[in-house]
Each structure stands twice: as structure tokens, then as C-alpha cells.
Symmetry: C2
Subunit: 239 residues, 2 copies
């Protein structure tokens, strides 16, 4: 079934109208009156629909059923990444969305070389949210992860403390692995560094805030490789 994560989060009553790109997509797929589609609010709910009318710019739907989307993981995973250089944030957002992230955060850290400021962040956040939406739709998820930023390392770590398990990935940790700390937590935070890694002070701050400091093995992962790899270790390695 064709599935649309709709831009308007409010789906009320028993009808809905697809517009813009979604309406165009219906036309491209030659969907017609009587065909079934699913619309999703991006917040975990799927609505099974039947097409009532199709024009080039509008597709009218009759909602016939509302169900919880079955494609979401049972654990809520939050990804925290130190600001990476270039367009690596986009790569991270796309990959961790496919792999089931619930939220994605970026934050500054001591060895970050990428320059982010309030001006360029507003535009970037918009683009990042769009990438999350597209990746969620493509991977048939029911939730579009929120993408947001923190103004400091300390703020990000403070926010992690709300999770039942916070996994802080550090290349100089040599013994504790993800399997050593994996438990039945229903909320898991995964924290990874930028190209320059973390400072010892940052690691100690994270440790004293309750984060579990873990190694990802002896090979050094690029900063954009680590977040999807760790999430996959949980969501695919833990299935």
C-alpha cells in the first residue's frame, strides 16, 4: 500500500485531502478512485483510506480506519551527535531515521571544527527536518524524528540524563562494550563525537552525569559512521 506521512499533523474527522507533492505522487502512481492508501501523522498513527476523488493538485480521501503504526521500535532511541563538518549531519539524520531513531540532536563540543551559529542553524534545522521526514516516509516509519540542537555540551548531557540508559561512545575507552551496558531500558540515548572526538573532561562530565562510557571496538569510525552503526547494534543486533 502507498503510504504518505502528511505534513499537517492534525487528522480529524473521516476525510483528508492530500495536496502538493503527495497529490502529485498519487498522480505519478496513477492511483484512482477506490484505491487504498495509508496516511500517517508522523506521530505514530496510521489512517487507512480510500481515494474518493483525484485531481492534479488535490486527492480527497475517506478515512476508514485508524491504527497504531506497527513499524516503530519498542524502545525510544535518541541520538546525540557533536556538530560534524560539511553535510555529514544530513547523512547521519537520514541513516538513523531509517534505523529507528526517535529524536536526533546536535551539540557543540570542545574539539568541534564545524562552525554553527544561530543564523545558519535556523535554515539547517528546516532542511534537517525535511530529510528526517523523507527518510521516515521512505523507510515506512510511523514517526518522523524531531531534529534539534543544544547550545552546549553540558545541556546535551543534561538532556540525556532523562533516558534510562545513556551510551557515550569514546574511542579511548577500551573495555566496556555496548553489550556490557545493554539492558531493558525503554529510553536509550546514544552520544557520539565529532571528527576531533571528545576531551577527557567531557568524558568525565558525561560519566559523572550517569552516562555509560563504551568502546565501539578497535577500528576508528568516522563521526558520521558511528551513530547509525551504534543504533543498528541496538535495533538490528538486539532483535
Amino acid at each position: 500500500l502507498t503510504r504518505f506521512i502528511v505534513e499537517t499533523p492534525e487528522i480529524n474527522g473521516d476525510t483528508f485531502v492530500l495536496v502538493g507533492e503527495d497529490a502529485k505522487h498519487c498522480n505519478v502512481l496513477r492511483l484512482n478512485v477506490g484505491d487504498k492508501v495509508v496516511i500517517c501523522d508522523g506521530n505514530g498513527m496510521d489512517y487507512q483510506c480510500i481515494i474518493e476523488n483525484v485531481s492534479k493538485s488535490l486527492v480527497h480521501l475517506q478515512i476508514v480506519n485508524k491504527v497504531v503504526c506497527e513499524n516503530e521500535p519498542f524502545v525510544n532511541y535518541s541520538i546525540y551527535c557533536a556538530f560534524p563538518k560539511g553535510d555529514k549531519a544530513e547523512h547521519i539524520i537520514q541513516k538513523v531515521t531509517e534505523l529507528g531513531a526517535g529524536s536526533i540532536y546536535f551539540f557543540p563540543s570542545k574539539y568541534c571544527v564545524a562552525k554553527y551559529n544561530a543564523d545558519n542553524l535556523t535554515k539547517k534545522r528546516e532542511r534537517w527536518q525535511k530529510i528526517a521526514r523523507e527518510a521516515a516516509q521512505q523507510s515506512q516509519r510511523g514517526v518522523v524524528p524531531t531534529v534539534d540542537t543544544f547550545e552546549s555540551f553540558a545541556e546535551a548531557i543534561k538532556h540525556c540524563a532523562g533516558s534510562e540508559l545513556s551510551v557515550f561512545c569514546y574511542e579511548n575507552e577500551s573495555s566496556t562494550t555496548i553489550n556490557d551496558v545493554r539492558n531493558n531500558a525503554k529510553t536509550v540515548s546514544i552520544i557520539t563525537g565529532s571528527e576531533g572526538g571528545f576531551s577527557e573532561e567531557e568524558v568525565e562530565y558525561a560519566r559523572s552525569s550517569g552516562c555509560k562510557i563504551v568502546t565501539l571496538g578497535k577500528r576508528i569510525l568516522r563521526c558520521e559512521t558511528a551513530p547509525p552503526a551504534v543504533l543498528a547494534a541496538f535495533t538490528i543486533g538486539g532483535l
Copy 2:
């Protein structure tokens, strides 16, 4: 310590000369006589060296010790991917190399849309091998994975049969997970599809050849996301 995976696989006697990019890199890092570096044959052996002489194009080394590189996984992972479109193969090669792949293979399958032929494959293989080398060096590995291709799906599956465990990832499999089939195998093959996925006939052929058909969960992964995700589930999720 600065580490070079050298292009010439034969390292004999107690001296070695770095040339080309490697010599340039020594100059950039301002390495000097008496400094220590490690050279690696890309085949699992590390050679601890002391610099004897530096010029712009040549760096003479004295080899003082030969040790097995400690950064390699204990399991030999082979990655088999149906030919993907565009430059996705490059992305796959870089990521699975970082995550510890021993060999990387591409093969045609029924629903592949990418067009590969003997002419463009020769050039591509060269470029792919270069990407594997760079990723191996960057991630401080001791082995440069070999990158190669098969002429048919059947040939690729036949080759997998040499592994103790072959994991065939299929989006229509709903119950068997990686954890269900994970064992103490020392040679593991991971097989993933192209954008179009696999045909039922291909899945049955793989099953009858001894492959374990597994699900990667309810979210649909892009064809370039799956290989590193599955490898991470083994190498990071299994640590």
C-alpha cells in the same frame, strides 16, 4: 603513532622506503629523523619503524619490530551486495571497511536497475579498491578488504557457501532475526539486495544453498544502509 598501509605488499629485510603520498604525508606531519611510525602490509601485519632519513619524496625507515595488527576482528566478515545505483557502492565500501569487513563483493540480481559491464567494471574495481584502502588506513585497520564482483547471483551464492554462516537479508522475511542465527562462526557472509530487493526465486535459491534468511526489522532500509547496519549488528552489537 602515525600509521601507513603501504601500497607494496612485500616488506622484506629491516628497511623500507615510503614514497609518493605517504612520503608527502610524513612531510606534512613534519615527521623527522628518529620519529616512530608504523607501516602495515594491508594483510594483517604491522611493522614498527624509526625514520632514518626524510626528503620531500622519500622517507627511509628502519624496521625495528613486526607484530600482528591488533585492530582486526576475530571473525572474517564477507559482504555481498547486489549492484546498487550511482555511487552507492562507494558508500558501502567505505562504511563496511570501517566496520571490519574482510571482503566485499558485488553481484547482479533480477531486480538490479544499475547497469554494470566488463568495460566500466575494470575502472570501477580500481576506484573501489582505492576507497577500501583509504577507509582501512583511516580506521586504523590492518587489512585492506578485497573488492570484487561476480557475474551472476548464483555464483555469488555459491561463493557464500564457503562460510560457516551466511545471512541473507530479505525484507519479506518476518520472523527470523540475526540474533536467531548468530553463532560462533569464524567466517560470516552477509548478503543484501539492490534498490529493487530480491525475487522469491532468488530467496529460495539462497535458502536451498544453506543461507539463513533474516529480517532486519520492520523499517525498510535503503540498499546502501543495510550492509554497514548488519555488519555493525555483528561487530559492535556482538562485542
